[in-house]
C-alpha cells in the first residue's frame, strides 16, 4: 500500500464531515463521505440564521459543499456494519458495496432530544407546542399551521438537557444562545408579541453572546424567568397555559401563550454508538464517543486509525466543530506520516 493514497471514510456529511473532507483532500488523501440523509449539511442545513453574526446557515453549508464538490460523497447511504481489518477498516454499506479504508473519521454529530419524551411539556399533544427545529423550519419556509401571529410566545430552555430524569445530565451548550437568538427573531417577526424565556441558568460564554442577551432584555423587552416549567396545559381556545416557578421572586407563575417553543437539547447519536461498539471504540458515560484525552487529543479515539470531529464527542458550536474537523484532518495526516 506504499504508493496508494490512503482512503479515509468519513461517517456523516454535516459541517464537520464536509470541512474534514476538504482539508483531507487538500492534504492529498482520498476521503469518502458517507451520509445517511439524502442531502449533506446535517443539522446546520435545517437551520435558518446562525449566531453570532446572523449569517444564513445556507451560506456556510453551500461554501463547504462547493469546496468538497470533488470528494466522493455517498448520500442516502447507511452503514450496515463496520469491521476491523489488519491495517484498516471495512464498511458494509446499505447499497451492498463494501468500502475498505485505512482510517475512519466519526463526524456523526448529535441527535436532537425527542421533546415528546417530556410529556409534561405537551409536545405532540398540544398544537401550539413546537421545538427549536420546528421554529427554524418556519424561519426558512414561513409556513406552519401552528404559528399564526402569536401574541405571546414562550421559550423553554434545557428540554432534555441537564435533566437526570430524561437521562441526560450534560449541558447542550448552544441552546441558551439559540433560544435568545430565536426569541429575538420572533420578536422581530411579531413586534407586538410578548416573549418569555424560562431558563435554569443562562450560559452565554461565547463571542458576542452577552450582547444578544443585553439586546433581548434591554432593547426588545423579552422577559427572562428563572425557573423550570413544571406543567403545560391547554385552555378552551387551544392556547397553552404554562405553569412555572419564578425562583428569583420565589413565586409560582402562570402564563397563557399562543406558542411555546421547546429548546430540545443535544444528545448522543445512537448510530454512532452502534458503530463504535462494532469496532471497539470507547463510549463515554454521557453516551457520546470517548476521546483518548479530553485536553490534548479530543479528536483521537482509543483505537488507532479512528478519529472524531464535531458533536459526536459532545455538544459543540459551529466554530468549534469546524476547528475540530481541521484538527482531525491534521491528526489523520500525522497518523499516516508516522506509519510511513
Amino acid at each position: 500500500m506504499v504508493n496508494r493514497t490512503p482512503v479515509i471514510a468519513i461517517i456523516g456529511a454535516g459541517i464537520a464531515g464536509l470541512e474534514a473532507a476538504r482539508q483531507l483532500s487538500a492534504l492529498g488523501y482520498e476521503p469518502v463521505l458517507i451520509e445517511k440523509a439524502p442531502v449533506t449539511g446535517g443539522h446546520v442545513a435545517e437551520w435558518n440564521r446562525l449566531f453570532p453574526d446572523m449569517s444564513p446557515a445556507a451560506d456556510l453549508v453551500q461554501s463547504l459543499e462547493a469546496a468538497t464538490a470533488k470528494v466522493r460523497t455517498m448520500t442516502g447511504t447507511e452503514i450496515a456494519s463496520i469491521n476491523r481489518l489488519k491495517d484498516g477498516y471495512s464498511l458494509v454499506l446499505s447499497d451492498g458495496n463494501i468500502l475498505v479504508c485505512q482510517a475512519v473519521l466519526f463526524a456523526t454529530g448529535f441527535h436532537l432530544f425527542d421533546a415528546s419524551k417530556k410529556e409534561e411539556y405537551g409536545y405532540g399533544i398540544y398544537d401550539r407546542v413546537i421545538t427549536n427545529r420546528d421554529l427554524e423550519q418556519w424561519f426558512n419556509t414561513r409556513q406552519d399551521e401552528r404559528i399564526r401571529h402569536p401574541k405571546a410566545v414562550g421559550f423553554v430552555h434545557c428540554v432534555g438537557s441537564r435533566d437526570v430524569k430524561a437521562g441526560n445530565t450534560q449541558c447542550s451548550k448552544v441552546c441558551c444562545i439559540t433560544a435568545i437568538k430565536e426569541a429575538i427573531e420572533v420578536k422581530e417577526a411579531f413586534p407586538d408579541a410578548e416573549v418569555y424565556c424560562f431558563y435554569m441558568d443562562l450560559r452565554l460564554y461565547g463571542k458576542k453572546y452577552e450582547d444578544f442577551y443585553i439586546r433581548a432584555q434591554r432593547d426588545l423587552g423579552i422577559h427572562f424567568i428563572r425557573g423550570r416549567v413544571s406543567e403545560v396545559g391547554e385552555d378552551i381556545d387551544g392556547r397553552v397555559v404554562v405553569k412555572a416557578e419564578d425562583t428569583l421572586s420565589g413565586k409560582p407563575v402562570k402564563v397563557t401563550l399562543d406558542l411555546l417553543v421547546l429548546m430540545s437539547g443535544i444528545v448522543c447519536n445512537p448510530d454512532a454508538q452502534s458503530y463504535a461498539q462494532q469496532i471497539g471504540v470507547a463510549i463515554d458515560d454521557d453516551g457520546f464517543l470517548k476521546s483518548r484525552n479530553n485536553l490534548g487529543s479530543i479528536v483521537e479515539s482509543s483505537r488507532p486509525g479512528v478519529f472524531f470531529a464535531g458533536a459526536c464527542t459532545g455538544a459543540k458550536t459551529i466554530p468549534e466543530t469546524l476547528a475540530e474537523a481541521r484538527s482531525a484532518a491534521l491528526a489523520i495526516h500525522h497518523y499516516f506520516n508516522n506509519r510511513g
Partner: protein, 607 residues
C-alpha cells in the same frame, strides 16, 4: 410394652429440659410484651377474637395450613414447599405421636416433659402389639420425611439455584448455629433410635439400621452418648432459637390470630410490627422479588435485611433501608408469612422528626368548591374526575379520558381543571400522615360540595388513598380502567378490536398489589387488541422503578430497574405496552423501545 428404668429418668434429658424451659419462658414473656404493647383498642379487639368461635376455627385452620403445611410456599415453589412442610409437619407429627405413645402405653409418665421425646430410650418391646408396631412405623415414616427435607435444605444452602432460588440470605452467626443444630437433630435421633432398636423395637428404618450397626459394633456402648448428643442438639437449637430466624416458628403462631383480628402496624418497633419482624423466616424470597435487586448493591436493602436490622437495632441501616424502598409491595406478595415490608417502612418514616413541617390547613378551598358546584349546574349525581398532579403531567391521559367520557355520554366534570390539591398519598408514603390528613379533609370538602355520586381517578396513587383514607359516603371511588371496562361491558363504549395488535398490560403497583385490581383493566385492553402477558404479572408484576415510594433512590439508580421491568414486559414481543398509571407511563416512555400508552389512550384510539 414395659419400662426399662424404674425411675424413668436419665441425666441425658437435662440439656433438653434446659432448652425447653428457656425457649418456653422466652416465648411467653415475648408474647405478653407484644400484647401489652398493642394500642388499647387493638388489644381489646384481639383478645375478643380469641374467644369468638368463628375466629378460633379460622386461627386453627390458618396455623395448620401456614405453619405446618406451608400452603403458600407450595403454590410458589413445590420443592421449597415440600422441604418446609416435611420438616415442620413431620416434626409436629413426631411430637404428636410421641405423646400418643406415652398416653397409650405409659399414661403414668405423661407428666414428664421429656418422655414423648425420648420414648424409645425408656421402653422395651414396643412393637410386640399391633398399636405399638403401627406407631413405630409412623414414627420412622415421619422421620424419613423430615430427613428428606433436611437433605433438600442442605442442597439449597449450597446450591440455591437447584431449588429455584437465584439468591438466598446470607446467614448471621446465630442463624448458622441454629441451622446446623437443626440439621443435626434428626440424623442424631435416627442414630440414637437405631442403637436402641433391638431393645425398644423399631420399624423399617431403625431395625435394619440397628442390624447393620450390630454387624460391626458388637456392643451397646454407642447408644447413650448418641442420646446425649440428640438431647444436646435439641438444647442448642432451642437456646439459640430466640436469637435466630427460627423465632418465626413461635412468632407466626401469634401473628396469624392477630392478623385475623385485623391488627395493623402502628409503630415500627412495637406490638404488631415487632411480631412481623420476628415472623420473618429470612428465607430470602423477597431478595429475588425486589425490583431494586437488579442492582447487586441493593440486595441488602430488601425486607429480609430490614427485619434483621430491626432486630439488631442498627438505626443507621434501618433509616437507610426504610427510605430507599419503592414501596411496590412485591415482597409482601411473595412472602409466605406476609411480612408487610412497605408498612414497616412507612411506620419507620412516620417516626422521623422533621425540622420543618408545612401546614396545609390554611388553604382556602372555597373557590375550588364553588367551581365544582357551579360546574354541576344545580344537579346532583354525575361523575367528578380528579386528574391529580401526575395526570396533569401526562396530558394525553387527561385528554383521552375526557374524550372517552364524552363518547360514552357520561355527565361529568373535572375536579381540578386548573388548580387542585394533592390527594395526600405521596405524603402518606413519606410518613407525613398529619399533613396528608389536612389535604384529605380539604379534598373531601370539595368532593362533597360537588354532589357527585362517582369520583373517577386516572392515577392509581390517588385511587388508593381516596379508596382507603377518604370517608366519602354515597360516593363511589373508581379507577378509570375499571370505569371504562364497565362502560364497554354495558355497551356505552363501542371499541373496535384490532386483532393484529399485540398489547401487554403492566400492573401498576398501587392498582394491582395496592388495590387488588387485575382483571378489569385486562378485559378492557383485550377489547382493543390481543392481550399478551408479561414474564411476571398480576401480583408479581415488577415495579417500573419510578415509584414515589423511594425517598433516596436516584434516577441513575432507578434506570436499571426500569430497564429490567421493560425486559419483563416485552417477553411476548407486544406492539404496545399498556399501563394504567401516569407515573409508570412517564417512567417507561423514556426508556422503552416501543410505544407505551395509558389504557385510556388505547381505548380512545379504538373508539
Amino acid at each position: 410394652m414395659r419400662e426399662r428404668f424404674a425411675n424413668g429418668f436419665d441425666p441425658f434429658v437435662i440439656p433438653f429440659l434446659i432448652g425447653m424451659a428457656f425457649v418456653l419462658g422466652y416465648c411467653i414473656v415475648a408474647m405478653f410484651r407484644i400484647i401489652i404493647q398493642l394500642p388499647k383498642a387493638d388489644r381489646k379487639r384481639f383478645l375478643l377474637t380469641l374467644i369468638t368461635p368463628k375466629y378460633i376455627w379460622m386461627n386453627i385452620r390458618d396455623i395448620f395450613l401456614n405453619c405446618l403445611i406451608h400452603v403458600k410456599l407450595w403454590k410458589r415453589n413445590k420443592v421449597l414447599g415440600y422441604m418446609h412442610s416435611s420438616i415442620a409437619f413431620g416434626w409436629f407429627m413426631i411430637i404428636l405421636l410421641g405423646h400418643l405413645e406415652v398416653i397409650l402405653f405409659l399414661p403414668n409418665r405423661i407428666h414428664l416433659f421429656y418422655y414423648p421425646i425420648f420414648f424409645n430410650y425408656f421402653v422395651a418391646e414396643t412393637e410386640s402389639t399391633i398399636q405399638g408396631s403401627l406407631l413405630m412405623f409412623l414414627m420412622d415414616f415421619f422421620l424419613l420425611i423430615i430427613l428428606s427435607g433436611i437433605v433438600l435444605a442442605i442442597i439449597k444452602r449450597f446450591a440455591s439455584r437447584i431449588v429455584g432460588m437465584r439468591r438466598t440470605t446470607r446467614l448471621s452467626l446465630m442463624d448458622q448455629v441454629g441451622l446446623y443444630s437443626l440439621w443435626a437433630i434428626f440424623p442424631l435421633r435416627l442414630l440414637a433410635e437405631s442403637f436402641t432398636a433391638h431393645i425398644s423395637g423399631g420399624s423399617f428404618l431403625t431395625i435394619p439400621a440397628n442390624w447393620v450397626f450390630r454387624q460391626f459394633l458388637g456392643n451397646d456402648l454407642h447408644a447413650l452418648p448418641t442420646w446425649w448428643a440428640y438431647s444436646i442438639a435439641l438444647c442448642v437449637f432451642m437456646c439459640v432459637l430466640p436469637f435466630t430466624r427460627y423465632m418465626h416458628i413461635p412468632a407466626e403462631m401469634l401473628l396469624i390470630p392477630m392478623r385475623n383480628a385485623g391488627i395493623r402496624i402502628r409503630h415500627p418497633r412495637k406490638g404488631f410490627a415487632l411480631l412481623e419482624v420476628y415472623s420473618c423466616p429470612a428465607c430470602g424470597v423477597c431478595i429475588d422479588a425486589c425490583p431494586m435487586s437488579v442492582r447487586k448493591v441493593n440486595c441488602k436493602d430488601t425486607t429480609v435485611y430490614l427485619n434483621r436490622m430491626l432486630r439488631r437495632g442498627n438505626e443507621r441501616r434501618i433509616e437507610e433501608i426504610s427510605d430507599k424502598c419503592l414501596l411496590c409491595g412485591k415482597c409482601t406478595a411473595v412472602c409466605q408469612v406476609g411480612v408487610q415490608g412497605p408498612e414497616l417502612r412507612i411506620a419507620q418514616r412516620e417516626r422521623r422528626a422533621y425540622a420543618l413541617s408545612p401546614s396545609y390547613s390554611a388553604i382556602n378551598v372555597r373557590p375550588l368548591a364553588s367551581a365544582v358546584v357551579h360546574g354541576a349546574g344545580g344537579e346532583s349525581g354525575g361523575v367528578l374526575y380528579f386528574a391529580g398532579c401526575m395526570t396533569h403531567l401526562t396530558p394525553s391521559i387527561r385528554r383521552a379520558t375526557a374524550s372517552l367520557l364524552d363518547k360514552a355520554g357520561v355527565r361529568w366534570q373535572m375536579m381540578d381543571p386548573e388548580n387542585g390539591l394533592c390527594c395526600g398519598r405521596p405524603l402518606m408514603m413519606a410518613g407525613r400522615t398529619e399533613q396528608a390528613r389536612e389535604l384529605i379533609a380539604k379534598n373531601a370538602e370539595i368532593i362533597r360540595a360537588s354532589g357527585c355520586d362517582t369520583l373517577l381517578l386516572s392515577c392509581p396513587i390517588c385511587y388508593k388513598v381516596f379508596l382507603e383514607e377518604y370517608k366519602l359516603e354515597g360516593v363511589r371511588v373508581v379507577h378509570h380502567s375499571v370505569f371504562f371496562e364497565e362502560l364497554i361491558a354495558g355497551g356505552q363504549l363501542q371499541v373496535r378490536r384490532d386483532d393484529g395488535l399485540k398489547l401487554v398490560f403492566h400492573d401498576p403497583c398501587e392498582l394491582g398489589r395496592g388495590c387488588g385490581i387485575y382483571e378489569e383493566p385486562r378485559r378492557a385492553v383485550a377489547a382493543a387488541g390481543e392481550l399478551v402477558e408479561a414474564g411476571k404479572h398480576h401480583a408479581e408484576a415488577i415495579c417500573c422503578g419510578g415509584s414515589l415510594g423511594s425517598l433516596t433512590l436516584s434516577y441513575d439508580q432507578r434506570r436499571p430497574m426500569t430497564r429490567n421491568a421493560l425486559e419483563n414486559l416485552t417477553v411476548a414481543n407486544p406492539d404496545q405496552i399498556v399501563t394504567a398509571c401516569p407515573l409508570c407511563l412517564a417512567t417507561f416512555v423514556r426508556q422503552a423501545d416501543r410505544p407505551v400508552r395509558d389504557i385510556a389512550e388505547v381505548l380512545d384510539a379504538h373508539c
